[in-house]
């Protein structure tokens, strides 16, 4: 989530996945996440098939595995946590490799690990195949309030600018021998944060003036109107569709067992 990641989020390309309209992809990823979350944790092979589906998308979009793995670092805290649950979990215990573990905890850990991972990978694939601004256009198409979309647009635009300012302030601090080590250094950091806020706020005012100067009257002209064809919707929704089919199959199999 650090600075500079911003631009590496999107991997330019011209695959089927890249070309799909953003609203189709957003909806597909959301629906996929819901299906995954709704799947009972006992159905191991269903999760396996979900992973295969995502791998299929990644191959179609030509997103390298190393890229996905690198971005999955975001998930690390939860992986650690998932491994922790069996150790501190309640209830009946079992012994694995000489360590006493909670059975319910093992289930819960597996549950979170599997679902969170699938969700994270689906989101990574979305961001890798869709430019940030295009995702926002898709969100707008999906009826996300346009004010929220605009706020997000300005945030994405100025994130790097503000981060650069913050970096320059840090360099200035450190070049005078300052390094945040303990509580006493907090005031210095806070002063930087205060200065950063003032700069951000004043920039917001200037941006607003610049907008007014070019005829802004409260409504943002949305430049691109991307609409999805039936075929494109069908292609995008194939992912959650197939996931749903897997869920259905696993339910039938579960009943027959």
């Amino acid at each position: 989530m650090g600075a500079g990641h911003h631009h590496q989020l999107y991997l330019a390309g011209d695959s089927v996945v890249h070309r799909l309209p953003p609203q189709c992809k957003l909806l597909a990823v959301a629906a996929f996440a819901i299906v995954v979350v709704a799947t009972p944790r006992e159905r191991f092979w269903a999760f396996g098939l979900y992973a295969v589906l995502l791998a299929g998308v990644a191959v179609a979009a030509r997103v390298p595995l190393t890229y996905v793995l690198r971005r999955m670092v975001v998930e690390l805290p939860f992986v650690l946590f998932a491994f922790l649950i069996p150790v501190i979990g309640l209830g009946e215990r079992t012994t694995v490799l000489g360590v006493s573990l909670s059975v319910a905890g093992l289930w819960a850990g597996w549950n979170i690990l599997a679902k969170a991972t699938l969700g994270v990978v689906a989101s990574i694939l979305l961001a890798a195949t869709t430019e940030p601004r295009v995702i926002l256009i898709g969100a707008q198409r999906l009826r996300l309030p346009s004010l929220l979309v605009q706020i997000a647009m300005f945030m994405l635009r100025y994130m790097d600018v503000i981060m650069d300012e913050m970096r320059r302030m840090r360099v200035a601090r450190e070049s005078r021998g300052f390094e945040a080590r303990n509580f006493r250094h907090i005031p210095v950091i806070a002063r930087s944060a205060g200065a950063l806020f003032i700069r951000s706020y004043e920039r917001g005012e200037r941006v607003h003036l610049a907008m007014l100067s070019r005829g802004y009257s409260g409504r943002m002209p949305m430049m691109d109107e991307i609409s999805g064809s039936v075929g494109q919707w069908a292609t995008a929704l194939a992912l959650p569709g197939m996931a749903l089919a897997v869920l259905g199959l696993s339910a039938v199999q579960g009943l027959s067992l």
């Binding site: 631009h7 940030p132 601004r133 926002l136 647009m153 300005f154 994405l156 635009r157 100025y158 790097d160 600018v161 920039r203 200037r206 941006v207 003036l209 610049a210 907008m211 007014l212 100067s213 070019r214 005829g215 802004y216 009257s217 002209p221 430049m223």
Partner: protein, 253 residues
Amino acid sequence: MNSPAVNSLEVNRLAYAYPDGTQALFGVDLTIRRGERVALLGPNGAGKTTLVMHLNGILTAGHGSVSVAGTPVRKDTLKEIRQRVGLVFQDPDDQLFMPTVRDDVAFGPANSGVSGAELERTVKGALERVGMLEVIDRPPHHLSFGQRRRVAVATVLAMEPEILVLDEPSSNLDPAARRELAEVLRSLDVTVLMVTHDLPYALELCERSLILSDGVIVADGSTRELLADTELLARHRLELPYGFAIPAPAEHG
């Protein structure tokens, strides 16, 4: 007197005080004819930015009037005025607020109702005039500072303004970017008002200059003559860079 149709900009007895009571302008008079390139010189705190803010109605005159190509700046004419006065801000990051160069250049014309193929044509035309067509799909943050400033000029040109107002256009530019921007500005056939304290740049680009000091215009004349008057400059905290001499008229052509 000049008829309003040939004057791009007329400012009469303009005075303004900020809400906190600080008065910044004390009766500014100036007239800029169509097609002129004029420099507005003045030290920091002279009221340059305050004056600029009046030109497109961001601030409204406390006293006096501003009119653009004959249209007075009033609440009911704001929309038209903002299309006619193209303001280029000092920090291009403030001006380029959209996710891509294309969206940004399109913002102004789209607000005034241009759309479809015509919008595309307008955008490309404006970028071509500043020589930045190749960056059309790039996000502004990926451009160099000089490129950003030129794109900022394009965002305003796309609105086909009557007059282009540039706030400190040469600040933070390296010599090459500075020269490139000068070439772009010289190639444009619009009226230009350049607000600056970069005197050599004013001399390079503008025949005529005005000096704004303490909220009034204290001098109006040929840039060369004004800059040669060292006493006048000194009185208003303006200085030529060390070692800079006004080139002889013959050399200058």
